[in-house]
Amino acid sequence: MVPAIYYVVLSAILFGLGVIAFIFKRNIISIFMSIELMLNAVNLAFVAFSQSQGNLDGQIFVLFVIIVAAAEAAVGLGIIILIARNRQSLNVERVDLLKL
């Protein structure tokens, strides 16, 4: 059998990649997608722990994460559309009206 630790390590790697992508991408949608990657990595960890501990709490939590991610994606993409309409650009560095 595959030890749960392998899954957790994979989850960590995916999470790290998600963080790096989050920092490096300039397109707003790409950044959003890297957030989804991070969430997925966390889901993987949850399920792995759920299996290793023998109860289903982890999987339930994964369901909730997916639900919330869906809601978040809907609203977030709506905001992204508005930003794109207002700033005529999808480059996150152009959206800097909060600069001091």
């Binding site: 990657l37 299996q51 289903l56 369901l63 639900i67």
Partner: protein
């Protein structure tokens, strides 16, 4: 090398390649497709672990709804190749080291973690959908109802956002 281990490595490699591709691609549509690859790989991993319901939900909701939404938005906005701007010096120089540091810390934390995680043998029991639904509607009914409420709020939010300026 047991078959499970082999499958695991294949799927893991797929997931990592997909993540790397997400990071390195210039066009957002390519990144979206890479993300779908990652999700499918993860679904496979869930199946390997015996969480069939979660795998199914992953494919249906995540891959079938959320990613489709992403692709639609990319199409709608006519997102092109990412332009090469570099205003943020901090992100440029400190980004990679920090990301690696984060990963390292997590990995180290895991390495130090409890024995049960390390020696666990998952997959002994396949989690049945019935079991999950029983748990969902008995012990977790309260959060379940809350999430339906949350989705309602999200719908209203999306509607408000999508309205044209009067």
């Amino acid at each position: 090398m047991t078959p499970q281990l082999l499958v695991f490595f294949v799927l893991a490699a797929l997931a990592v390649i997909g993540a790397l591709s997400l990071m390195l691609q210039k066009h957002p549509i390519h990144s979206a497709l890479s993300l779908i690859v990652v999700m499918v790989a993860l679904a496979g991993l869930y199946l390997l672990m015996g969480a069939e319901f979660v795998a199914a939900v992953q494919i249906i909701v995540y891959g079938g709804a959320i990613m489709v939404l992403f692709v639609f938005v990319i199409m709608l906005l006519n997102a092109g190749v990412e332009e090469h701007s570099n205003f943020s010096k901090l992100a440029g120089y400190a980004g990679v080291p920090l990301g690696i540091a984060l990963t390292g810390f997590i990995a180290a934390a895991i390495a130090r973690s409890t024995v049960s995680v390390q020696a666990a043998t998952p997959g002994a029991s396949i989690a049945s959908t019935g079991d999950i639904s029983r748990m969902l509607f008995k012990e977790f009914v309260y959060p379940f109802e809350l999430t339906s409420f949350l989705i309602l709020v999200a719908i209203m939010g999306a509607l408000v956002l999508a309205q044209r300026e009067k």
